[in-house]
Amino acid sequence: MGFGLRARLCAAALSAGVLAASGAALAHSWDEKVFSSHVDFAAVAAKGEAAIPALIERGRQLFKAKFTEADGAGRPLATQAIVPTLRKHGRNPAFTRTSGPDSSACASCHNEPVQGGAGDFVANVFVSEGFESAEFDSIDPSFSNERHTPPVLGDGLLELLGREMTADLRAERDAAIAKAWATGKDVSADLVTKGVRFGSVVAHPDGALDVSRVEGVDPDLTVRPFSRKGVFGSIRQFTINALNVHHGMEASERFGVRWTGSHDFDGSGVPDAVTPGDVSALVAWQATTPPPIERADLPADWEAAAKAGSKAFEAIGCSSCHMKTLPLKSMVFVDPSPYETAGTLRLSDVKEPIRIDLAKQPFAKTLKRDAQGDWLIPLFSDMKRHVMVDPLVNSLGNELMAQRFVARDTFLTPRLWGVGSTAPYGHRGDFRTLDAIIKAHGGESRFARDAYLSLPEDGRQDVIAYLRSLQIPEK
């Protein structure tokens, strides 16, 4: 950030009614502190659409801001856990590469090829629950799962897809339950949304619901689009967790007095370091980042190969999970999400939510719509989890720890939008090339991998050419 730019941006945000002058003013124009004031959630929500540009800009600033101790960075007394958890003893050092805090800014890792993008292998993080063995200084997989940094671009569209899918699945479940109560008989219901099947449930006439046949989603039927395992349902939930894990910045809506009895749970010396409005700024920026694109200005040979590769991608079965598009009915992003639970700001916690119409973002013009008027989101994923290893092809089974009830060999179908810009590949970034990661597909995806391998060399190159055309624009 250039000389004085931070102060100018803050002033602009203040004038837009976004920031509350609750913090101490910057002592100097060269001050390293990030938070001279905080975003006032209620003010933004009340101001409506007019406040959104400044909110997004504030989120962009915060995403790349390097938090300092004066901002509350460091969580000296707390662990990285998703629920407030104190260390058993001692104080956390300012940075710890393994158990965190491991970076001073979001953009320190999410930066390839642009802010909000992916990271190289060097930017891998180490994911542990943060409960037992919360402090670890080894990258031995018995302590944590090492994970590659994915891009956050287009996340608003992903979250909206997740919300609509959740609503569909729950409606199917609820209908079965109601019918079972009414008829006194067992009622089975297929769980299908946007063309993706998530198994089935059986509702019994006594109200019990057998969820043993649910597939690829948690039994509460919440589609969680974020993280490699699909364990976060919203940008907001992910952001609060990441702020704590990576920067030691604790959001008051989870770590504040209401849930911990303290305004400074982590002992940083800064009470209520991150306000709900600050989180909303980060959410707004991530939600409105443009999604990756299918590059149009390819050289002729690449264009021809990519065209053939697109067909092959479907023919060999890649698109059975990496679905090219999923239809989205509404582009209105409401913050907070209707599916949040305690510890993340909920709709019931606020007088009115913040609404952002993604249809008014410039990138919306690039999205196609189907005959029903639904927006076709080109994410290349079914938003479903799959087992990715089998006895013969198991290099993706290199984690030892399950994550939030998701088995070690099971992963959310990664979005392939932008895959041409985000090497290396795989949840740990173990694979330098697209060819290598395709060959690593086992388990439920084994058939497509085998089909890919059965293609002639030119056919395989076509698939690679196609995937390489899915890029994150650098401008």
Binding site: A81, I82, V83, P84, T85, E129, G130, F131, E132, D174, I177, A178, W181, A182, A203, D206, G207, A208, L209, D210, V211, S212, D218, P219, D220, T222, R254, V257, R258, W259, T260, G261, S262, T341, A342, G343, R346, S348, D349, K351, R404, F405
Partner: protein, 554 residues
């Protein structure tokens, strides 16, 4: 009835507490304060616990699912007004609504009379909840039938009714038995010379016969009885064999005290002795609540009395923890004495009755609810004596929040049922009142000055079942783990003040979205973990490796 020298004795008991809390404003809860709406009348609940001296104590309620809907209905003691059954017809998350079922004993049959209290328990293991009804002259066992109907079952189960003034109850399933063992606590022998002073009746223990049907023809006296007003089978030392704790009213005994009985399978019951570590404690014992603050496996107990309440924690300073039943009173340290009313300005001692640990704000911390109320017209004790809501704090203490919660009504509280009557994940409270209608407090959510109540923490409600015998897993411990914390709940029949509930087991989860349930089954076996998501009802069935979810039908 006059209670002589009561004031001096009570004041002596809580004098240190008064000194400790004399100065400064009362602490304010940092945890969410749940807001309750009293709606008994609108809900159709009309029952007054009435009667003369014979009904100064008692006044209980049983809550349980009697129609398979999952919603807890209630059987309410009315003293001379008999016992009334109210079927819960509330809708999910909505206002509370009950309909009285007058013919619960069959067409034309009159309701039970002289009802002091009641506890639900599936005695015969048929999957329908039965009722143990405590009465002013004995006990009536009611066998549950379809559609919230009951039949008298004393004769069917060879039970002579345990004649006398029955004021307390607890049940356990002893190893090797097909049916539960029943313990009854008695109060004063009104026919004895010198009654009521020094004339406490013996208590009773009924072990089932060995046949294929309940047979309670054999009584074992629990002697001496010291006028029991609450009893609870509790595994105080993690031995796997529950002992029987009895809380006694010192008003009428001579030389009595609180009691703990060995009830070892196949052996005669016997009292814990001084040599074993049991210490003399003499209180106006009215109600026992069991809870675990720290998931140590060694429970804490809240004992109501007149004046200060006892909060007993197992003392580890004398030998290995669990080797001796030595308890330290930590009520003052934890801010839970509740010895005088917190509202109304009456500085005379309180009179506590029902006590129950539960998480009313779903923050993951145990709270303590206590009913209060003058015995009748005792001048030396507070006349305006509202129920307490002691909210657990993160520093291990409790903070009174009854007034802010809307519980500070002018009633004479007795027994209570803490249950989720509209299945919204928030615990409601039904209080039986002497000489006044019941109060029904619907939990609306967290106090939010100037706005509507807020949603509180995440929660979970569990139904824990296993094959017969003991299909409702009475005696099981349910451990719910979130992160590094474990919340413990016991499935028990007994305790409180003449009141009990059986059904959904509620736990608050705070900010956790997921939880892992492990069950320590009554036979000592631990279950594998059941992984579940918050804000749901789940059924933990011992025969299944995955919990079923459950949803209300209305």
């Amino acid at each position: 009835m006059k209670r002589v020298l009561l004031l001096l004795a009570a004041l002596a008991a809580f004098a240190p507490t008064l000194q400790a809390s004399a100065d400064g404003p009362p602490p304010v809860s940092k945890a969410d304060i749940p807001v309750f709406h009293e709606e008994a009348d609108a809900a159709g609940l009309h029952s007054v616990y009435a009667g003369g001296w014979d009904y100064f104590v008692g006044g209980g309620v049983a809550s349980f699912d009697c129609d398979g809907s999952g919603y807890p209905s209630v059987f309410v003691a009315g003293g001379t007004n008999g016992g009334k059954l109210f079927v819960n017809v509330s809708k999910h998350g909505g206002p509370l609504k009950f309909v009285e079922k007058k013919d619960y004993l069959g067409p034309g049959a009159k309701p039970l009379t002289e009802v002091v209290g009641a506890y639900p328990l599936d005695i015969d293991g048929d999957g329908r909840m039965d009722l143990v009804v405590l009465r002013n002259h004995g006990v009536t066992l009611l066998k549950g039938g379809p559609g919230c109907t009951f039949t008298r079952a004393n004769a069917l189960w060879n039970f002579a009714g345990d004649p006398g003034w029955v004021t307390a109850f607890s049940a356990t399933f002893e190893r090797g038995q097909k049916f539960p063992t029943l313990a009854f606590g008695h109060y004063v022998d009104r026919q004895a010379p010198g009654s009521p002073y020094g004339t406490c009746e013996d208590n009773s223990l009924y072990r089932p016969g060995s046949g294929d049907a309940p047979d309670y023809s054999k009584r074992t006296a629990l002697r001496p009885g010291w006028c029991a007003l609450s009893m609870l089978f509790t595994d105080w030392n993690r031995s796997g064999v529950p002992a029987l704790r009895v809380s006694n009213d010192r008003q009428y005994y001579r030389g009595g005290e609180e009691q703990l009985w060995h009830v070892d399978p196949g052996k005669p019951p016997r009292l814990y002795t001084r040599a074993e570590g049991w210490r003399h404690v003499s209180i106006f014992g009215m109600g026992i609540a069991e809870g675990e603050f720290d998931a140590s496996g060694y429970p804490e107990y809240a004992l109501t009395s007149m004046g200060d309440m006892k909060l007993q924690k197992l003392d580890s300073s004398e030998g290995r923890l669990g080797s001796a039943p030595v308890y330290r009173d930590v009520a003052a340290d934890r801010g839970a004495t509740a010895h005088i009313p917190y509202a109304g300005g009456d500085m005379k001692p309180s009179t506590g009755w029902h006590s129950e640990f539960a998480d009313f704000n779903d923050d993951g911390l145990l709270d303590l609810f206590v009913t209060k109320g003058n015995v009748d017209a005792m001048r030396d004790f507070a006349a305006f004596d509202p129920n307490d809501l002691l909210l657990g704090q993160w520093d291990g203490k409790f903070v009174e929040a009854g007034e802010q919660a809307g519980l500070a009504l002018d009633r004479k509280g007795r027994g209570a049922a803490v249950d989720d009557f509209n299945l919204d994940g928030k615990l409601d409270i039904l209080v039986v009142n002497r000489e006044a209608n019941v109060t029904l407090f619907r939990n609306l959510g967290a106090a939010n000055p100037g706005g509507k109540p807020l949603e509180m923490g995440n929660w979970l409600e569990m139904r824990v079942v296993q094959p017969n015998p003991n299909r409702d897993a009475v005696g099981a411990t349910v451990a719910v783990k979130v992160g590094t914390r474990t919340m413990v709940r016991k499935i028990q029949v007994g305790g409180g003040h003449a009141s009990g509930h059986l059904g959904w087991v509620h736990v608050g989860l705070g900010t956790s979205e997921r939880a892992e349930i492990r069950v320590h089954w009554p036979d000592g076996e631990w279950s594998a973990p059941y992984r579940v998501f918050a804000n749901n009802f789940v059924i933990v069935d011992r025969t299944k490796t995955q919990a079923d979810y459950w949803y209300p039908g209305r």
